[in-house]
Each structure stands twice: as structure tokens, then as C-alpha cells.
């Protein structure tokens, strides 16, 4: 992990994450940010469950998307999700602490590619890849 050296960018990313209504609704927290990488966590509870009392897949997908989108923003650019594909490797029990680790694979002029792995404790529960359209430098 290469540390981010621009304190203004770090501040901007944490500020906008905190202001993102959907993250607040779900309870997503930005755990760490590095160059081309971001980690989100979620302390799951009853609000996040499906009828089987397991964590709903929509939570896994949203966390992965957040981790990848902010991994992209760590490079000083903005990416709009074009396509996102998620595999569900195992069920996550309610009460588990989820961690989504996103990483940029390639930053192109037009397209940006990323992947994310979502863990429930030590167990891999989600594997995600996505492509983003590069809308240009962040204004901060």
C-alpha cells in the first residue's frame, strides 16, 4: 500500500464519504485509503438481513462498489460505475463485521478497472470486479 501524500485529498474523500446519504443509511465506514486502494467496514445488525437472517447480498454489492469507487478517487479522479459483477462465495451471519477491500487494476484515459474482496472475519464472502467511466479530475 502506497500512502496518500495529499492531505487535502484525504480530507476531501473522508468528508464526502461522511456526506453520502446512502452510506449513512447502510452504515458504511471508510476504514482506510491509500493510493489506488480503499477499505470500507460495516458492523452488521438486524437491519441488514434477508428473511433467512443472513446479510442481504445488496449490502455486499454496495460495500464493494464503495471500496472500488473510493479507491479510484484516491487517484484524484472520479469514476462512474458502468458495470459491476459480484460473486457470493459464502453467507455472512448477522452481527459479523464486514470488510471490503477495493483496488484499482488500471486507470485509463476513458475507463478505469477495479476489483474488491469482501470478508466476514477471515472468510471471503464476496468477490467483485467493475468498470468505471473516468469523468476526470476531482474538484476539491
Amino acid at each position: 500500500m502506497e500512502k496518500l501524500s495529499d492531505p487535502g485529498l484525504i480530507q476531501y474523500i473522508y468528508d464526502t464519504v461522511e456526506k453520502t446519504a446512502f452510506y449513512q443509511l447502510v452504515g458504511l465506514q471508510l476504514q482506510s485509503i491509500a493510493k489506488g486502494e480503499a477499505v470500507f467496514t460495516l458492523q452488521t445488525d438486524e437491519r441488514h438481513t434477508n428473511p433467512a437472517s443472513l446479510i442481504h447480498g445488496g449490502i455486499i454489492m454496495a460495500m464493494a462498489d464503495a471500496a472500488m469507487g473510493n479507491a479510484i478517487r484516491s487517484l484524484g479522479v472520479m469514476g462512474v460505475t458502468v458495470d459491476c459483477s459480484t460473486a457470493f462465495l459464502a453467507a455472512a451471519p448477522v452481527g459479523s463485521l464486514l470488510e471490503a477491500r477495493g483496488r484499482v487494476l488500471k486507470q485509463g484515459k476513458n475507463m478505469i478497472f477495479a476489483e474488491a474482496y469482501v470478508y466476514s472475519g477471515e472468510q471471503l464472502v464476496g468477490h467483485c470486479k467493475a468498470s468505471f467511466f473516468n469523468t476526470g479530475p476531482l474538484q476539491y
Copy 2:
């Protein structure tokens, strides 16, 4: 659309949807159910937005997954999402009424395949395909 003829199954589906905590958190509503098809709606508001005040992609993915998962349940079986891939064709503005239409493409002994289209008014904003593991008959 072929009507569902089993009132017990219809009741069971509506009941479990209402009890699904994550659907309640987001605000998803089951609009209609037919044989192999389900439609969910969401009246979007500020809670569903990203920093650009557009609807967060996680909402689109969760709606599509709900529409496909319940389209499967309309066949009297339960499917666990294995893989879900979503394309984001256009941004949905806050305040828009979203509608996700899910449809089963094939019900196999082991795997079930489905697709969903998500609309914001007349505009197609999400296109989703997913595969599910068939865990067997619903107990209702």
C-alpha cells in the same frame, strides 16, 4: 404474465418481503408477482443518494436482486444468489420512482437463471443478470 394461482404462496411472498429488514431499510416495495416474474418499486429520496445527488448504484443492484429473487420464489422454490452482474445505463435522479422487473430465464435442478431491468420512469437505468443456486421447495 401468467397469474399465480396459489393464494398461499402469494401471501407467503408478500409476508416475507414485508419482514425483510434490508428491504424495509431501503424502502423497497413488492409491486406485483406473477409466474416467474416480480416487480419491485422504490420512491427515491435523499437517503438513497451519492455525493452527486444521484441514486446510488447499490440501490439499483439491490432492487434488481430483489426482483429476481422473488421471481424465483414465485415458482415455489428458493434461490440463493451466486453471481449478479449489473450495468448502469443512465443515472437516476433523486425523487424518481424506480421500478425493477425481474424474470426467470431458466429453472434448473441445480441452477436458476434470471434477468432484471430497472427503470426510472420510461428510462432504462439498470440491466442485470444473475445466477442462483436452487435450494429446493419453499416451506410455507
Copy 3:
């Protein structure tokens, strides 16, 4: 299906398909082209099989990509595949005639979205969605 009215474009598409080395290697044939739609066929034989003597999944993915890419070209623009996701609904036996039907879902300034269904006779064997980067007008 809306007919293509530009004979020069039709001719150009058939010509380039015939000159595409990979299509020739596999044996893909452009069956028909309409506005935003294209159909490819393949008479399968032993060359297309996996060790189980079924048609290899790579054939299904290549046909779907061809059908979507040429559905895009029917609109007078060129699309470069960014992401392609394929579900395999059933196995196709050797000797079957495969048909891939591609359709453009949305033509945007930057991104183009498409889907394809691949049939072996009456049976749906492949379901594909893909996103393409719009590289601009075809030069013909």
C-alpha cells in the same frame, strides 16, 4: 426489427465480418442485421468441443460478443468491448446449430450497452450482457 436502410453500411458490415480472421477460425456466420440488432449462427462440429464432447463455453461467449458488436455497428458506430458477462444455461451438444441474437439496449455518447441470447435449436444456452466504449462513427 427495423430494417437497415443504408446499403453501403450493410455491405461494409458483411465485408468486415468475412475478413475477421477469428470469426473464420471458429466458423461464425452473420445471419442477419437490422437497426441495433445482429444474428450470428454457427454449425458446430468436433472442432468446437470440450473433453465432454459438448460445445466449449468460449464459443458461446465469442458468438455473443460478435452479435452484440455488430448490432452496435449497425448503428454506424464502433464499440470496443469493455466488459462481457455470460451465463451458461444449458450445454449445447456437438452438431447443434447455434444462433446468437444481439441487441443494443442503449447507445450513449461514451458507453453503449447490449445483450445477447444464444440458442441451440429452441433451447436457450447462453445469456450475455456487455458494455462497450463508443469509439465513434464507422469509416466506410
Copy 4:
């Protein structure tokens, strides 16, 4: 990479790869196999091109599928591809040597999950994730 210790399994995998007609048609070579991992290579030439004289995306998808499918077989089981999603990060020029590295992420009783990265020299050109149905022990 953990070495495979069963010489009979190694021999079986190499033998069946050599007998796979579609691999021979395209020119795919099994480069190495380890526990849960497999590497395929392809020396590209004019036969693999699209009209722009770049390597056709179908080649990238087929290589990735081969690398993942044989990574699974290295575990002594057979997996049938259920869903395969590929991102195309960069174009591969004709004449390039392609290398697809597949890896199993999780081997479950019913489902097996894998990923693959395809390189043209040092450059990442393809990123793939896929889910497979576990059809049980290999008979060899």
C-alpha cells in the same frame, strides 16, 4: 504455488487438455499446473484477430475460462462454468504472447469460484471472474 503431488492427476490434466478440440483450434497451451492454479499461454497470430488487427476478445475469454477450469481440475474435481465475467483492460497486439493465470478462490460442495488475469507481456489485458458448478470428483 503449492505443487501437485499426484502424478496421475497431472498426467490426466495434460492429456485431456491436449485432446480438447477447441483448445487445439485456438492454439491454447497448458503452461503449468499447481494446487488450485493453472497457467495457459497462446502465441497469437493473424488467425486470432479482429478487423482492427488486434486480438479478438473471444480469445481472452476462452483463455481465462481454460485457466480457471483447469485450476479447478487440479483439485481433483470437475467444474461446469455457470457464469463468466471478463473485463478488457487493454488491447493485445497480434504477435503477442498471451498468458492466462487462473486461481480458485473457493471450493464449495456445490459451487466453486475462481478468477483469472490475462497478460500480454507485462500488460494486464483481461480480468475475469467466474462461478462453476461442482459436478464431483474427476474420474481418472
